[in-house]
């Protein structure tokens, strides 16, 4: 790890270097005035003051719709009906100004998508390996952020190649991987006062995360005790079972695979799916193991805060608060998790 310094007026030089090797994406202000991920054309479009994007950047590694294979839809052709794998990402990509929480989310999902030989999702791995993560530390956390409660934080470094800290006219450039070090190799070392300023900013940002949740009781409780807790009866009542929370979430990662044909063309495509939908677990037999709204509501929280920690020692949430912000009926993740963690579940 090294701390370098970059004047904002020299960002162009960095971008040029990036652009020669990577397609560069960043959170940019759109026509409606909101900040969302888009391809970066000019450094003057970069936004330094924003809370976070409405939708997470997970689509760059896990596109909402992704063609996996193609086939010739002809059974009379010896080459027909044989799946041919799609080529991977053609050019490397850089996610510039990604929030530390969003980068950590992708890291957390590695434990599902490429944990070992038996869980090696080639589509996920391809894009993970071809993506550079240049983070931007968070200055003003939202009231819905609770990253510091879920092993994350406004300056969290895991999952990043570089962490940028906005010091006003300058950026502190912290290199966190070989790729990151290479990119920043021609920058000067950061002076001590800049390092101190960044450290102070980290402290302030962490203190500004006002929402907190406890997880200790969730961890010590048995799965069935939580599963059968009476709290679910009331907590799920206003849930619509729409997919907003799962689709804006940086760690929700479920998908559905479909084969589509049109004339002689065929493809196998995977799309994001949502555990909020009854269709998600509906069996061909007609049986649905998650047949009620309550079952589906409970699943999302149990998966993130009980099953994933239990199986992989990873919390399936980075505390970005997007689900709470986007939920049409104000289901608040910190409230639900708070209930799960209550000393007395009854």
């Amino acid at each position: 790890m090294q701390d370098k310094i970059l004047d904002k007026s020299e960002v162009d030089a960095l971008l040029e270097r990036l652009g020669s090797e990577y397609d560069v994406y960043a959170p940019l202000r759109d026509q409606q005035g909101s900040v969302e991920w888009a391809a970066l054309d000019s450094s003057s479009d970069l936004v330094w003051d924003f809370s976070n994007t409405g939708v997470s950047p997970k689509r760059f590694v896990f596109p909402q719709t992704e063609c996996m294979m193609r086939f010739n839809n002809r059974s009379d052709d010896p080459e027909g009906m044989i799946m041919k794998q799609e080529q991977g990402l053609q050019r490397q990509q850089a996610l510039l100004n990604i929030r530390p929480c969003d980068a950590k989310a992708l890291k957390a999902l590695d434990s599902i998508y490429c944990r070992d030989q038996t869980s090696n999702d080639v589509y996920w791995r391809d894009k993970r390996e071809k993506t550079l993560y240049v983070g931007l530390a968070c200055k003003s956390p939202c009231p819905t952020c609770f990253c510091t409660s879920v092993r994350c934080g406004p300056h969290y470094e895991e999952g990043l190649d570089i962490l940028l800290v906005d010091l006003g006219e300058r950026l502190l450039v912290r290199t966190l991987s070989e790729k990151g070090a290479e990119l920043a190799s021609n920058l000067s070392d950061a002076p001590d006062e800049a390092k101190q300023q960044a450290a102070q900013q980290k402290e302030e940002a962490e203190a500004a995360v006002r929402s907190q949740v406890g997880l200790e009781n969730i961890q010590s409780r048995g799965i069935m005790e939580l599963y059968e807790a009476p709290m679910w009866d009331r907590e799920h009542e206003s849930c619509l079972n729409c997919g907003v929370c799962t689709y804006v979430c940086p760690t929700c990662h479920c998908f559905d695979i479909q084969d589509e044909t049109q004339g002689e063309h065929g493809r196998r495509v995977r799309n994001w799916d949502t555990c909020m939908s009854w269709l998600f677990t509906y069996h061909t037999s007609g049986h649905n193991p998650r047949g009620t709204k309550k079952d589906r509501f409970r699943q999302r929280f149990m998966h993130k805060f009980k099953y994933m920690p239990y199986k992989f020692d990873v919390i399936g949430c980075v505390g970005c608060g997007r689900c709470t912000q986007s939920c049409p009926v104000n289901i608040d993740v910190t409230e639900v998790v708070g209930e799960m963690n209550e000393p007395d579940l009854n």
Partner: protein
């Protein structure tokens, strides 16, 4: 608004104490700025959590569908119209529901408020008469409510509940002052190509979360056409064909039923303006059939019946 909150609470307590209803459906204060939560109060104590503010942007009629118990529901104009629609469509019986009618002051569009503070994080918003007090970590500013209402609340035609068992507060101004035909008009002046372009532009950000469908009291099908797989009418991708199929078909299913409550737009996480489609359908139904949905329990929605006299301008040119 605070006075109405008190009136809702006392009516709810009375109804629960007298066991006239099993629960009262209203709104509870939300945990994020400008979004109250639909809430079922089952006891007089719980009724104390009910609120009535300009941030009640859900359509509570949606939460009545499929309930077997007796429910009292807080309903302004549009919600009451959807209750009428659900009764007409046999999804609800009039006896089962006790309507606490209200006049809607016009609800706030949180995106419009946020747009006034582009780089700043809003921590809380309070109502103060005709203004909102917007608070951030290091700022406090005032915004005029009339500048940040939801689009559909400007063009509202029925702000007072159209059916009710008791009316809370005073009946007020019936319209929002705007003209819904102006929302529909742009379509009519566009060429076919321009319409298609506008349509593509409108829905390009859709992530197919179906919040618009699931928040809508018209969308109560046991199985939505997008969820059917034998046959599969609509693909699952976010490519244009599938996104367009979903939105066009959903809009048509709402023709002659949509009350322009705006819940779909309030729910959309990416800010899609669905009313660009539904307002035109609303206008067509009004002009062709002389019908506005949800105003009269005795009437029959025009697309639910066939009559040889039905207008067919599309077939005659």
């Amino acid at each position: 608004m605070q006075e109405l909150t008190q009136q809702i609470r006392s009516a709810a307590k009375r109804l629960l104490q007298e066991e006239r209803v099993d629960c009262v459906l209203g709104y509870r204060e939300g945990t994020v700025p400008m979004r109250e939560r639909p809430f079922f109060a089952y006891t007089p104590e719980e009724a104390d959590q009910l609120v009535w503010t300009r941030f009640c942007v859900n359509n509570l009629a949606n939460f009545l569908i499929g309930r077997q118990d007796r429910v009292a529901v807080v309903a302004q104009g549009c919600v009451s119209r959807n209750i009428v629609g659900l009764i007409q469509e046999k999804q609800l019986s009039r006896e089962q529901v006790y309507v606490l009618g209200l006049h809607s002051p016009g609800m706030v569009d949180s995106a419009k408020v946020q747009a006034q503070f582009p780089n700043r994080v809003i921590h809380s918003v309070e109502e103060d008469g005709e203004e909102l007090l917007v608070n951030g970590a290091d700022f406090q500013e005032r915004v005029k409510v009339r500048d940040v209402k939801r689009d559909n609340c400007y063009t509202c035609t029925h702000r007072n509940a159209v059916i009710y068992d008791e009316f809370l507060g005073e009946q007020g101004e019936e319209t929002g002052g705007g003209n819904i035909d102006n929302v529909a008009a742009p379509w009519e002046n566009l060429s076919l190509e321009e319409r298609w372009q506008r349509f593509e532009e409108t829905f390009k950000d859709c992530i197919r979360c179906y919040a618009c469908r699931d928040v809508c009291p018209l969308c109560y099908c046991n199985q939505c056409f997008v969820d059917e797989n034998q046959p599969q009418w609509c693909g699952k991708t976010v490519e244009e064909t599938d996104v367009h199929t979903f939105h066009i078909l959903r809009a048509f299913h709402c023709a002659g039923r949509c009350t322009d409550c705006g819940a779909c737009e309030s729910a959309c996480p990416v800010g899609i303006k669905m009313r660009r489609l539904t307002s035109k359908l609303e206008k067509d139904i009004r002009e062709l059939y002389g019908y506005s949905p949800g105003l009269d329990l005795e009437s029959t929605p025009p697309l639910s019946v066939y009559s040889p006299e039905d207008p067919e301008p599309f077939s005659t040119g």
